[in-house]
């Protein structure tokens, strides 16, 4: 009981902080930028060619961090697979999904995959990028898991896609080391901003990340479903 009371007080205090934050900072994004943020906003498009500056920060200025994040995600998926490896679900009687669910999800699934591809291909132009696109694709697979009678993607293909994408990411980084000065450097031509074929290696990296995150998340959901 006392634990619940403390939790209630903490959430009310956080709510008070949120209120005061909203009042004090109200016209959001109107203050002048300082330091490294100002440099990114002023020179980002000229240096890296991406209209969406967040993506050029994530994949190029702070590219090594992103490689680390992808590794952390890979380790999480591997650990979950190891924990759930020995468990096997006993066969039980389950109510089947109805015709309505099956038909709608069957026709919606290709559109979800197309939408995920749109998000990672246009990552340097519109909001989004590799991580949300991978999660959108994995959610599409989850939709098929819950609403189809029998739908099981090949586990071997999923792990092969994931390993191949991870290797390609490192190879792109080493290409930067070989052709330019540093790991994950922008070695391809920048092109004209606001076109699809622009911003050097950002679309390439985002396509790789999209495939990797999508197959990883689908693998996690598949492990949880079958264990």
């Amino acid at each position: 009981m006392i634990r619940r009371l403390i939790a209630l007080l903490v959430s009310l205090y956080l709510g008070y902080i949120l209120y005061s934050f909203v009042y004090v900072h109200f016209p959001f994004g109107e203050r002048p930028l300082r330091g490294v943020a100002a440099h990114y906003v002023e020179n980002g498009i000229k240096e890296e060619g991406a209209t969406n500056i967040v993506t050029s920060i994530v994949t190029l200025y702070r590219g090594f961090d992103t490689l680390g994040e992808v590794t952390v995600l890979f380790l999480a998926a591997t650990g979950l697979g190891l924990i759930l490896a020995g468990m096997k679900r006993e066969e039980e009687e389950k109510p089947e999904p109805t015709l309505i669910m099956e038909t709608v999800t069957k026709h919606l699934f290709p559109l979800v995959l197309l939408f995920g591809s749109y998000i990672f291909i246009h990552g340097h132009l519109t909001p989004g990028g590799g991580f949300p696109a991978g999660v959108v694709i994995a959610t599409g697979y989850f939709m098929m898991f819950i609403a189809q009678r029998s739908f099981t993607p090949s586990e071997y293909l999923l792990s092969a896609t994931e390993s191949f994408a991870g290797t390609l990411y490192v190879i792109v980084g080493l290409l930067g080391l070989a052709l330019a000065f540093s790991f994950l450097d922008n070695v391809m031509p920048l092109g004209i901003p606001n076109r699809v074929f622009s911003a050097g290696i950002i679309p390439v990296i985002y396509i790789i990340i999209g495939f990797k995150v999508g197959s990883e998340m689908t693998g996690i959901l598949l492990h949880l479903k079958e264990a």
């Binding site: 109510p95 089947e96 999904p97 559109l111 939408f115 998000i119 959108v136 959610t139 939709m143 819950i146």
Partner: protein, 90 residues
């Protein structure tokens, strides 16, 4: 031409939508059975999609519509998953 917010209509609209959010939240809080709360969540996801589109109109940025598109495509997955859990078929 950017969307200049003037007149009473936009204020009335935002007030109506906010009342809708508050009522759904009350049903989410008090709902006697679990399916009541799931219905309230379903209503809140649809209202959220609308609010995202209207915020894109207020800020006058077309790219904000992508976020609303994500919810329009995927938000029903959570509700269907919880419904399948309730009937025992997950």
């Amino acid at each position: 031409m950017p969307y200049e917010i003037h007149g009473l209509s936009v204020y009335i609209y935002v007030g109506l939508v906010m009342l809708g959010v508050i009522f759904s939240l009350i049903r989410l809080a008090i709902g006697p059975t679990a399916p009541d709360r799931v219905v309230a969540t379903d209503i809140l996801t649809t209202i959220t999609t609308v609010v995202l589109v209207v915020l894109a109109l207020f800020f006058d940025r077309q790219i904000y519509l992508d976020v609303a598109l994500v919810y329009a495509v995927l938000a029903f997955t959570a509700v269907v998953a919880i419904a399948r859990f309730l009937e025992g078929g997950l």
